[in-house]
């Protein structure tokens, strides 16, 4: 029996192996339960949110021009957000990255108290009681943090709590990369 015979005979199995390989990959490499942001590379959508502490002022995308910053979407009813607050304080104080916040579907008084309890790393906080701006940003679960470029474009979106590990390996390198290319 020649080699050609074997290849010809068992070639249908090739497709089967491709399928199995892809299924195996999907077990480990697919992000079935994470949704990457569709807005990466896009400028921040326009919004005008009343700030939490000064309701006559507004938070708009213009504040992001000039330096790399973070936009953090949080809420008092979100348990995970309180876990993240310490890390955000560190990012703001030790790494000197400006952080802006959007208070998502929340009550202003509860928010102020929450910030007193857990710390306030934000330069400015916009209130989004209806959740409309969050939908505009493609938010689907709090907390979410966006890295915004100095031109006001969304570089990256992280869903979930930021811990030291994520900061060291994913977020900070991205920020540094962006700073270096300035």
């Amino acid at each position: 029996m020649t080699r050609y015979f074997f290849i010809k005979k068992f070639s249908p199995l090739f497709f089967l192996f491709v399928l199995f390989f892809l299924l195996w990959r999907s077990l480990f490499y697919a992000h079935t339960h994470e949704l990457p942001s569709a807005l990466i590379g896009e400028p921040l959508p326009h919004f005008q949110l009343k700030t939490l502490y000064a309701p006559h002022s507004f938070l708009t995308p213009t504040v992001f021009h000039g330096q790399v910053s973070l936009l953090n979407v949080w809420a008092t009813w979100c348990q995970a957000c309180s876990q993240e607050q310490e890390m955000l304080m560190k990012i703001s104080q030790d790494y000197h990255i400006p952080i802006y916040g959007i208070d998502y579907k929340d009550n202003a008084d509860a928010a102020k108290k929450w910030l007193q309890d857990y710390g306030n790393p934000y330069i400015s906080i916009g209130s989004d009681p209806s959740g409309d701006t969050a939908i505009d940003l493609g938010v689907y679960g709090t907390p979410e943090t966006f890295i915004i470029s100095p031109h006001g474009k969304i570089i990256y979106r992280h869903v979930g709590v930021i811990d030291q590990h994520t900061w060291d390996h994913v977020l900070y390198p991205l920020i540094q990369q962006y700073r270096d290319t300035q």
Binding site: K9, L23, W24, R25, S26, L27, F28, Y29, H31, T32
Partner: protein, 627 residues
């Protein structure tokens, strides 16, 4: 504690029997040793006994609230009604795998009573033993239901969505179907190993495949009916990945059954039939993998664990590769069989086309289900493939299939002694179908949309053509009619249904379709493990009182889950469906009211298909055998 110990021991002993069941007969086959072959049946009985012991003790653990076993603690509660305690055994991953193995053993024992082909028996049992062995290893290594917790809790209660009679019957029948295809697979593999694929093999495989298919049809029909009852918005099929996973072996099974008829009657298509037998079981295994590995997002999936996924994928890969290698090695034998001519307008061609179309349908659904997964695995993006895609794609396929269903029923075998003229009958039936469909649609909706018209006339076409074969093949007539009824139900319920979502307070009346729904009052409705509110509605049709419907809103205390209990007034020609929404301010409630004509045809059609399959299981009359 002791239950866990006995359970584990029983599983391990069953594993030993499974080893014996797999190794000795195969060894005996290759060494032509009769004594080794004789190990098959006793080992099978031994394994079955100990698996049943394990299953019994797990059920006992549920019945006696033994929360030291982690599985029981996660799926039961002392206040759970007994019926659900006994069936919660298969409510989550570990227990359902045990059920899988129990059913596999039941099929094995069932097969072992078949004395017709003694040479085949030990081999088949050995192969079934290998499958059981793999699943037992899977159970013991990754999904042991008898694992204990150190801190006995009071139980987390069964998921409220599962606390419905539908849950009691749907999984067992579904699994019996899935697992049943393993018998057809094993028979085919045994025959391939022996190198003999004759009429006896074909008949045996067809019977077992048909039996498995009947159970699967019942299981899917029950699942759809259950979803309709429980989920609260009148849907009965969502093209959810897990649902698709059950549809794949169903379609492949139909193709298998039809192609085996070709083998039985005329000795053709042996290669295709054996390939289909392998594919059908491989699809069952694929379904098991998809549902339990966590790669698919579905409301029906079990616990996600990559380790389990790897095991199941390896199982699927090994079994299908081994089976296909044996098949490919034996293939030249089939291709060299004598040529058997058939004519264009024969049943042979119809059956060939049918299996090709069904395989196409199956592959389309498979591709659609796996596509998002495959794209994601290659980091090419995240998309969804859902109902809009499947509905768009399956509709034309189904219509084409129905054309050939009718043609096939009207055609005759090439070797038949009496061949009636085809064209007059065909045209007559086609015309009658089209005209009656037009009349029906015009009468009920006053408009003639092309798709409902096509679907309806093709359904009548299928029924009329199947009716000609009533005397010779009643099973086929019933099954085809059942399918046509299913399509009629689907088409009419989607074109004629009416739904309204309203805010009502007691005293308000709403008109949906020809019925009037009057909100009467609300009252408390508490059960052993829930508390809730029941709203009462009086249903009238043209001033005549029909019934009282009482949908409920329940909170299941242990899991803190809210469930909406739908109220349905069923009837052959229409369903009235009421689902309670949210309580709004000042006595107002939001309610969804559905008027669904002909929706029962869907499940009625499914049941009729199953009955047709059962009727087709009868032994054929000797004088109906053709050359």
């Amino acid at each position: 504690m002791t239950i866990a110990l006995i359970g584990n021991m029983a599983l391990i002993i069953a594993l030993c029997f499974a080893l014996a069941q797999s190794i000795f007969p195969l060894w005996g086959h290759f060494r032509h040793n009769v004594y080794l072959l004789a190990f098959a049946r006793p080992s099978a009985f031994g394994q079955c006994f100990f698996i049943l012991v394990a299953y019994f003790f797990l059920t006992l653990a549920f019945a006696t609230n033994d929360f030291s076993i982690a599985y029981v603690a996660a799926n039961s509660h002392s206040s759970l009604p007994l019926m659900y305690k006994l069936t919660a055994v298969w409510g989550a991953h570990e227990g359902s795998i045990l059920l899988w193995i129990v059913i596999l053993n039941a099929w094995t024992i069932g097969f072992s009573f078949y004395k017709k082909d003694p040479a085949l028996l030990p081999l088949v049992i050995a192969i079934l033993g290998i499958i059981s062995l793999c699943f037992l290893c899977f159970l013991l290594l990754t999904s042991n239901p008898f694992l204990t917790t150190l801190t006995p809790q009071s139980g987390q209660d069964l998921n409220p969505l599962l606390q419905d009679p539908g849950f009691v019957i749907h999984p067992p029948f579904l699994y019996t179907g899935y697992v049943g295809f393993s018998v057809a697979f094993a028979i085919t593999q045994a025959a391939l190993l022996r190198g003999v694929l004759d009429h006896a093999w074909a008949e045996l495989t067809r019977r077992f495949a048909l039996a498995a298919w009947c159970f699967l049809t019942l299981g899917i029909t029950l699942g759809s009916w259950w979803a309709y009852r429980v989920l609260g918005w009148g849907g009965f099929w969502f093209w959810d990945p897990v649902e698709n996973a059950s549809l794949l072996p169903w379609l492949s099974g139909i193709a298998l059954i039809h192609v085996l008829v070709l083998v039985e009657k005329r000795g053709m298509a042996t290669g295709w039939a054996s390939l289909l037998a392998i594919i059908t079981f491989a699809l069952s295994l694929l379904g098991t993998f998809l549902v339990r590995s966590g790669v698919l997002i579905s409301a029906h999936t079990f616990a996600n664990d990559p380790a389990r996924g790897v095991f199941l994928l390896l199982l699927l890969a090994l079994v299908s590769t081994a089976a296909l290698i044996i098949y490919l090695l034996r293939l030249p034998q089939f291709l060299s069989s004598p040529r058997l001519p058939f004519s264009w307008r024969s049943r042979e061609l119809a059956l060939w086309l049918n299996s090709a179309l069904l395989s196409l349908a199956m592959t389309t659904i498979l591709l659609g289900t796996l596509y998002p997964l495959l794209l994601d695995a290659l980091h090419l993006g995240t998309i969804s493939v859902g109902a809009p895609y499947f509905n768009k794609v399956m509709l034309p396929l189904t219509l084409v299939l129905m054309v050939f269903m009718g043609l096939g029923a009207l055609s005759t075998w090439t070797t038949a002694t009496h061949t009636p003229p085809l064209w007059p009958v065909l045209i007559k039936k086609a015309l009658i179908s089209l005209l009656s469909a037009t009349a029906c649609l015009w009468g009920s909706t006053g408009q003639l949309a092309i798709i409902p018209l096509l679907a309806l006339s093709l359904s009548f076409w299928v029924i009329l053509s199947a009716a000609t074969a009533w005397r010779s093949q009643p099973g086929m007539t019933l099954a085809h009619t059942g399918f046509a009824l299913l399509v009629i139900g689907l088409m009419l319920s989607s074109t004629l249904n009416e739904e309204r979502e309203v805010r009502v307070k007691p005293g308000d009346a709403t008109q949906v379709g020809p019925y009037q729904f009057i909100f009467l009052d609300t009252q408390q409705a508490n059960g052993t493990n829930y508390h809730g509110i029941r709203a009462n509605f009086a249903v009238n049709k043209q001033q005549r009182h029909i019934t009282i419907l009482s949908p409920e809103k329940r909170i299941y205390t242990v899991r803190d889950m809210v469930m909406t209990k739908v109220a349905i007034h069923p009837s052959i020609f229409r369903d009235l469906y009421l689902a309670l929404g949210e309580p709004l301010d000042a006595q107002y409630w939001s309610v969804r009211i559905y008027y669904k004509p002909f929706v029962r045809f869907i499940w009625g059609g499914g049941l009729l298909m199953m009955i047709g399959g059962i009727v087709a299981l009868r032994p054929r009359k000797e004088n109906r055998k053709l050359a």
